[in-house]
């Protein structure tokens, strides 16, 4: 269709115009339906899954085939060749039987959800003359942890019922691993893009062009910098900076004229290049040979290398200097051109600052996902394993005689890959020495505090910079983040703006084959670089074609080329994620097919008219169409950040002009998952939305459908969670309406009792009685029945029903384990375990030990005294060392109390200030009594207008019986109810249009002198509860070494009078108080001090005198009080040969 229009010539134009006028007026098509379809196809964590799938399907094959041979050095006839690789089904071999794994089973039994890696091998048996080739199929080389819901996972493609049967929550997004029972997610890593020229300035303000090259073989960083008007190359294999002209000459560019031509004939460029050329001449470098000799001297001497010294410079230039440009047979021409382009871009940047690249621009960034990280790791481990195999077989083959026939396939070690992958994933430390990669904290335990927290965790992007840097640039909101990264969801504090989250519709690309794209480009009229002279390179109206940082050639009609490429992409002849970006300023066409780019789908528009028509959407609704068919038919396409610069994107179809090329699907998709929960976020002050994004993750509610089958260390659940009355489209899309984390509370915005200052809320006791804010806290305790080296093992025995310990064993069942449903109190025994007294050495009959050989090692419950917890579940499983592992879940149901933290969805947190009887609460004309009262002072400074609209909308919602919507920017498209419409509904149901009600005081019974803004607001109970935090102590445990009170709530510690408190007391002159706090209540100690030598003595109880151990008598002994810590200090100093002496005087 577009093709036809393009070839229309001027004579046909008038006819077309009439047709255009006669065409139906473009109508706003509700494209929202595309979104659920998109999420159905792609899911919320598709980026992780895609990346892992790519690794498992493609990347791992590449790695294997790149290192497919192990050949003995000793006997070259002995070899092993990998033919094929595949990942099997997740399974585990238990006692020789292969047992299939399911993720939930792994979670419960602390095992790793992993699948065997099968390879087909061809190898030789025997050695020397008698080798014979053999084939073997499905040899296991290790076990690969499997990402949940990826193509290798058992959950792949399962429907809700099948998932339920496997014990899995259908709403769980997957995208994480189960390693030793804990769920681990590999965070998305943000990086500067590889293999691209980036022009910026260094600390001194010198313009530099840098390329971080990354190929399968090498990784290097090349910097070309202009210092004092001369241009140098910085490469860490050279001792010093090297003049760039020398490098050019070394690469065979002996003629200065050609260099100038390559950079461009503009006299300004030549002028900038002149000092460098002069410098080169000054150093007497004129020929390639001279240049190479010059460079040879600059090469860093490697300490232990005996490589031929002459060839070093040349090989560095070939292999390490801008390594992403391949050099064939020492033909450096393409590298020269690349350097020339770098120089040219640098000079452009020097001449005008606009040409400088922005490091924070999202288009210059790549997101590294789990697949890429795993492939790095796997490659390293695989190579290590091969090296090991080689070493062993060489060692064996070197031996003169062997008994059995040599079989190389038996030397494959499986454990190194399995253990390596498992360890890296569970610690999160990527230590890949081969690629000089040492990164920490790459994996995190999936946050299971709330469903939204889990989702938010999957979309989190961790930064490349260290957090301490005090720069505002990378933290600021980049305009290019629009639609790709959520503008709201970022933590507060040190990581603010660095840690980001993906937006709802973002997709992260995976690598795509370059070969077909290259040949396609040449077919579409790209002139090959090899055939061009330097002069032709930068002709005024020709554009360079650059594919993934590699210059392919030039094209004389770039726009035509770009539109042809795009047409091919829309037709599906090219990968859908390939981006074509015409950079007019740089006279370049950038084609990108590399992985890690962020992109998002947009509706294509022709001359401002959307390609998606009403009938398309109808077909979608009828189920005839899917999201992919939209993509295939060229109605929708993915644009990455760079290509967005070539597009004119209209927010709504109505706003489209003839120049418009694309139309947004829905504007609320610029927000992420967490920010999507906020109703009317576009009416709020922006930091409030950010606060809510952080707080939504702490809200209690439902975690997953299988929440009661999980054995996490800590689970917070709400007893009666509700779905919000005022929902958003995002809430429905992500399933928050099914796994809510909050309750709709009727809120009156008024002042009450004075216990509501500083954001405190006043709660209605009857509401709490009826179940508002009631929550369940579950904690896990576990016990292991250890087996010891001498064959003995722990045992669990039946409890004593009589005797003094019977009371503590009340909750135990006959099997010695606590019974589910029993109330467990502090100091109760929950497992009656015994340990053998001798666990080392050999014992005659380890199984038949007498009763006396065991000592009790019971485990007792240590909880707060005031809490009555209940034993919820007891689970028995085998851990990986084949020990019996018993897990206990202890449950405690709590009702809200003063000091518990609550929050609405607008970053308005507050603690419960007081709880008031219902009869004292105000009530409305309709008999409605609020659940909580919020102080109106919370509004003016916070400016959370969204909360007010939420109240209105929910109020209209309850009275009309319809869920109202408040999606971001949703008013024009009908995804958010307008305030006017809400007001109308309110009036229809007998409320005031402004949501304010006529209220009677519950205390006096008279009406209040103001109308009160009252209605339901969705409130979240946050995990911070008083019961977990409150702490006080009279006397209690002390630290052994200093005899001072312990520190911290968990150790029942004291509250420290710190330096500042002490300063206050000094200033106040309360010396006796200081004495009491720092001495009497802390660590008083009586010491014997010798007045003569000033050292500490001791008290002899027989003689009843103090004796100085230095003077050997008790003549000059005084008794005094000292903090024990001071005595300790004195003695410690003495132990290091410093003598502190106490000089005593009469007071």
């Amino acid at each position: 269709m577009v093709a036809n229009e393009d070839v229309l010539d001027q004579s046909q134009w008038s006819r077309i115009d009439k047709e255009f006028l006669a065409a139906p007026v473009k109508s706003a098509v509700d494209k929202f339906q595309l979104l659920p379809e998109f999420l159905k196809v792609r899911g919320l964590v598709k980026q992780h899954l895609d990346s892992f799938n790519y690794f498992v399907r493609t990347e791992i094959k590449k790695i294997i085939s790149a290192n497919n041979e192990i050949r003995s050095k000793v006997d070259p006839r002995v070899y092993l060749r990998y033919k094929d690789v595949r990942i099997g089904e997740p399974s585990m071999i238990i006692d020789g039987v292969t047992e299939k794994l399911s993720p939930h089973k792994c979670r419960l039994s602390d095992t790793t959800y992993a699948a065997p890696i099968f390879v087909n091998i061809e190898y030789t048996t025997g050695s020397g003359q008698s080798t014979s080739p053999q084939m073997k199929k499905d040899v296991v080389i290790g076990r690969m942890p499997i990402m949940l819901r990826s193509c290798c996972c058992v959950l792949y493609g399962k429907d809700e019922e099948e998932l339920a049967r496997l014990g899995e929550c259908p709403l769980d997004p997957g995208g994480y691993f189960v390693i030793k029972g804990t769920e681990k997610v590999i965070l998305i890593q943000e990086q500067l893009s590889k293999n691209r020229i980036i022009i910026d300035t260094d600390k001194k303000g010198c313009v530099q062009a840098s390329v971080t090259s990354s190929t399968a073989a090498t990784k290097s960083k090349t910097v070309i910098k202009m210092e004092k008007e001369k241009i140098y190359l910085h490469l860490n294999l050279f001792k010093n900076k090297v003049p760039i002209m020398v490098v050019m000459k070394a690469m065979g560019m002996e003629s200065d004229q050609e260099v100038v031509q390559m950079v461009g004939r503009d006299p300004r460029y030549s002028a900038l290049l002149l000092p460098s050329i002069e410098e080169c001449a000054k150093t007497n470098v004129f020929t390639q040979h001279q240049a190479l000799e010059y460079l040879e001297k600059q090469v860093k001497q490697l300490p232990f290398s005996y490589a031929p010294v002459e060839k070093r410079a040349s090989s560095i230039l070939r292999d390490i200097f801008i390594a992403n440009i391949p050099v064939r047979q020492y033909n450096f021409r393409s590298k020269c051109i690349y350097v020339a382009v770098m120089l040219r871009r640098m000079m452009e940047a020097i001449l005008s600052k606009d040409a400088m690249d922005d490091k924070d621009y999202v288009g210059n960034k790549r997101l590294e996902l789990s697949g890429q990280l795993l492939s790095l790791l796997f490659e390293d481990l695989f190579k290590t394993m091969n090296d090991e195999v080689k070493k062993t077989i060489d060692a064996i083959l070197a031996k003169p005689s062997r008994s059995s026939r040599f079989d190389i396939s038996q030397y494959i070690v499986k454990d190194s890959i399995t253990v390596g992958l498992e360890r890296t994933l569970s610690t999160g430390n990527w230590d890949v020495k081969r690629f000089r990669m040492h990164r920490k904290g790459m994996t995190q335990v999936v946050a299971r505090l709330s469903y939204i927290g889990t989702l938010g965790h999957m979309t989190k992007i961790s930064p490349q910079f260290e957090k301490s840097r005090k720069v505002s640039g990378p933290r600021a909101l980049q305009p290019s983040q629009w639609g790709m990264l959520c503008p709201c969801d970022t933590p507060e504090g040190e990581a603010c703006g660095l840690v980001k989250n993906l937006a709802l519709m973002t997709h992260v690309t995976t690598d795509e084959e370059e070969g077909p794209i290259i040949s396609l480009c040449y077919a579409l009229g790209v002139e090959d670089l090899e055939l061009l002279s330097g002069e032709e390179l930068h002709m005024p109206n020709s554009f360079l074609i650059i594919l993934n940082g590699l210059i392919l050639g030039k094209h004389r009609k770039p726009q035509r080329f770009a539109s042809a490429m795009r047409k091919l992409r829309r037709a599906g002849k090219l990968g859908e994620f390939v981006s074509i970006f015409v950079n007019e300023k740089q006279h370049c066409v950038y084609i990108a097919s590399d992985g890690g780019r962020v992109c998002r789908p947009l509706v294509i528009a022709d001359k401002g008219v959307s390609r998606i028509k009403e009938h398309h959407m109808k077909e979608l609704k009828d189920g005839v169409r899917t999201f992919d068919s939209f993509l295939r038919e060229g109605l929708i396409e993915y644009l990455d950040v760079n290509e967005e610069n070539n597009a004119l994107i209209a927010l709504y179809e109505g706003e489209a002009t003839p120049e418009t090329t694309h139309i947004e699907i829905e504007p609320f998709t610029i927000l992420g998952v967490c920010a999507g929960l906020i109703p009317y976020p576009h009416h709020n002050q922006s930091p409030r939305n950010t606060y809510q994004c952080a707080m939504g993750k702490q809200a209690m509610g439902n975690i997953a459908y299988n929440q009661l089958c999980r054995m996490d260390t800590l689970i917070y659940l709400l007893v009666y969670p509700q779905r919000p009355l005022l929902t958003t489209r995002t809430i429905e899309l992500v399933g928050y309406d099914k796994l809510g984390a909050g309750q709709n509370a009727t809120v009156a915005v008024m002042s009450y009792s004075g216990y509501d200052i500083e954001d405190a809320i006043v709660m209605n006791k009857s509401s709490l009685d009826r179940g508002f804010g009631r929550c369940i806290v579950m904690k896990k305790m576990s016990a292991i029945c250890q087996k010891y080296e001498n064959g003995t093992s722990d045992r669990i025995i039946r409890p004593q029903r009589e005797g003094y310990e019977a009371e503590r064993m009340q909750i135990l069942d006959e099997d010695g384990l606590a019974a589910p449903g029993e109330i467990i109190r502090p100091h109760d025994i929950y497992i009656n375990k015994q340990t053998p007294t001798v666990t080392r050495g050999t014992i005659a009959s380890p199984m038949g030990l007498p009763e006396s050989a065991y000592k009790p090692s019971r485990q007792t419950y240590k909880g707060p005294e005031e809490e009555t917890a209940v034993m919820d579940r007891v689970a028995l499983c085998t851990d990986k060392n084949n020990n019996l592992c018993v897990k206990f879940m202890v449950r405690h149901t709590r009702r809200p109390e003063v000091g518990d933290k609550f929050s609405s969805r607008h970053g308005q947190k507050g603690v419960c200030g007081t709880i008031i009887q219902q009869e004292d609460f105000p009530f409305s004309e309709h008999g409605i009594c609020p659940d909580l009262i919020m102080n109106p002072h919370g509004f003016p400074s916070r400016m959370t207008v969204g909360k007010m609209i939420e109240l209105l909308g929910s109020k209209a919602g309850v009275s009309s019986g319809r869920f109202h919507y408040g999606s971001a920017f949703g008013e024009p498209s009908g995804h958010a109810d307008k305030v006017e419409a809400i007001s109308e509904t309110l009036v229809k149901h007998g409320f005031s249009y402004n949501g304010k009600d006529f209220i009677y005081s519950g205390i006096t019974g008279m009406p209040l002198q103001a109308y009160i803004f009252m209605g339901p607001i969705y409130y979240q109970k946050l995990k911070h509860m008083v019961l977990d935090k409150m702490h006080a102590r009279g006397s209690g445990p002390r630290v052994m070494i200093t005899r001072q009170p312990t520190e911290g709530r968990s150790r029942n510690g004291g509250l420290r009078v710190g330096e500042m408190e002490r300063d206050c007391l000094i200033a106040y002159g309360a010396s006796m108080l200081i004495y009491e706090r720092l001495m009497i209540s802390s660590d008083p100690f009586e010491v014997q001090v010798c007045r003569k030598c000033g050292l500490l003595g001791y008290y002899n109880y027989k003689l009843k005198t103090g004796i100085c151990s230095t003077c050997k008598n008790g003549d000059n002994i005084s008794t005094m009080k000292l903090p024990y810590a001071c005595k300790l200090l004195i003695q410690e100093l003495q132990s290091m040969n410093i003598v502190p002496r106490l000089k005593l005087t009469e007071a």
């Binding site: 009685d769 919820d872 009869e919 009530f923 009036v987 409320f991 005031s992 019974g1005 008279m1006 002198q1009």
Partner: protein, 386 residues
């Protein structure tokens, strides 16, 4: 002050000259209209209600010769109760000629101080359902029971549960293995008139076989032998409240003990879903509203307080037809100058009282009980004072 009608003339002409004592007297014995309004009406303006406070002081209007004290005789003459609606579950009635403090006292007593029976102790023998024991107990507690609390006594801490202070229910629900999920509703709560069937665990069974085994309650007689319960057995008010849902193979077996309690201890003992009142609305047309404006006014009101009456020659005039229906949405005074035409007021001593009973007692009984409690309280005060 200037709005005092009697003073208007003097005000406008001769304010500076006339000494205070020469001013004409305020007419004795009756209040001027604006004070009368202030005393008897809450005026609901567009922005905020005014005159919400009651004038308590008996001599507040003494200067005008009006006695503001509350006399018993006067009260008896003026006080009226009109029942508007009475159904099994709820009731609406008017309390006319009473102070807000008294009406509020009734409301507060209804919510917090009228005793009912509610499940307080749950002995769980077996619970394999997904619902946690505490949550199940909480849910059971909130079930309204159809039993007259007046027939029972409070159980204090040291009391032994007996037939006078405890009602025992049994719940044994099971979902068959291999079947589909089932729902446990309140009708499965079975009343045990003979008290608990669960044996006390501490009792040594073998010691005395002859005597009745000790259970958690000690009933001397069966409750259904009592005349009050023989005809209407005790049961939850509604048979269809969902208690729990069971999956195949799950089972709940428990015993629930209900005791007498008050709403201020826990909302489950509150005999009312809610009880509240509102003051009788009074809508006053300050000016004649005619023609289009009248039609506009009628259309404005969502609850149709206004009607149009045809005065002569097809001229339409708005009239207040159903002021009682006014919900105070204030639509009629919204907009430019509508406050000049319509005044929304509330009559301070006329309360439309609504009681929604949870089912233990019918609402009218609840109210009389509330009156009795207030009476008791007053008597207590009097005896303590004397």
């Amino acid at each position: 002050m200037s709005s005092l009608e009697s003073n208007t003339e003097a005000d406008s002409d001769l304010t500076p000259k006339i000494p205070v004592w020469e001013l004409p007297d305020v007419p004795k014995g009756n209040l001027s209209p604006h004070l009368q309004l202030q005393r008897t009406r809450v005026v609901c303006n567009k922005e905020a209600p005014t005159n919400t406070e009651n004038v308590q002081y008996s001599g507040a209007y003494a200067a005008m010769g009006v006695d503001n004290s509350l006399g018993l005789g006067e009260f008896r003459k003026r006080f009226r109760v009109e029942v508007i609606r009475l159904t099994e579950g709820d009731m609406e009635f008017d309390l006319i000629g009473i102070d807000a403090s008294l009406a509020n006292a009734f409301r507060r007593i209804l919510i917090a101080e009228l005793p009912t029976m509610a499940i307080e102790k749950v002995l769980i023998a077996n619970n394999t359902s997904v619902i946690q024991d505490e949550v199940l107990a909480h849910r059971l507690g909130l079930i309204p029971l159809q039993v007259d609390p007046r027939l029972f006594e409070y159980m204090s801490e040291n009391d032994i549960p007996n037939e006078k202070n405890t009602i025992v229910f049994k719940l044994h629900a099971q979902c068959e293995k291999g079947g589909s999920r089932s729902t446990v509703k309140t009708d499965e709560l079975k009343w045990l008139p003979n008290g608990s069937e669960l044996l006390l665990a501490t009792e040594n069974m073998a010691s005395n076989e002859a005597s009745k085994p000790k259970t958690y309650t000690s009933f001397t007689c069966s409750q259904d032998s009592l005349p009050e319960f023989s005809k209407n057995p005790i049961a939850p008010k509604h048979p269809d409240i969902i208690i729990a849902k069971l999956g195949p193979g799950q089972e709940i077996e428990l015993e629930a003990h209900a005791v007498k309690g008050m709403g201020k201890t826990h909302a489950k003992w509150s005999p009312v879903a809610t009880a509240w009142y509102r003051m009788l609305p009074e809508v006053v047309l300050l000016q004649e509203v005619e023609g289009n404006k009248a039609e506009e006014l009628v259309k404005k009101c969502p609850v149709k307080v206004f009607d149009i009456e045809d005065i002569c020659k097809g001229v339409k005039r708005a009239a207040v037809a159903r002021p009682r229906d006014c919900t105070l949405c204030r639509e009629c005074i919204r907009g430019d100058d509508w406050e000049k035409f319509v005044a929304l007021q509330r009559i301070k001593d006329h309360f439309i009282f609504t009681i929604e009973s949870t089912g233990a007692l019918p609402p009218e009984v609840l109210f009389t009980e509330a009156v009795k409690i207030l009476e008791d309280k007053c008597e207590r005060v009097i005896t303590e004072l004397s």
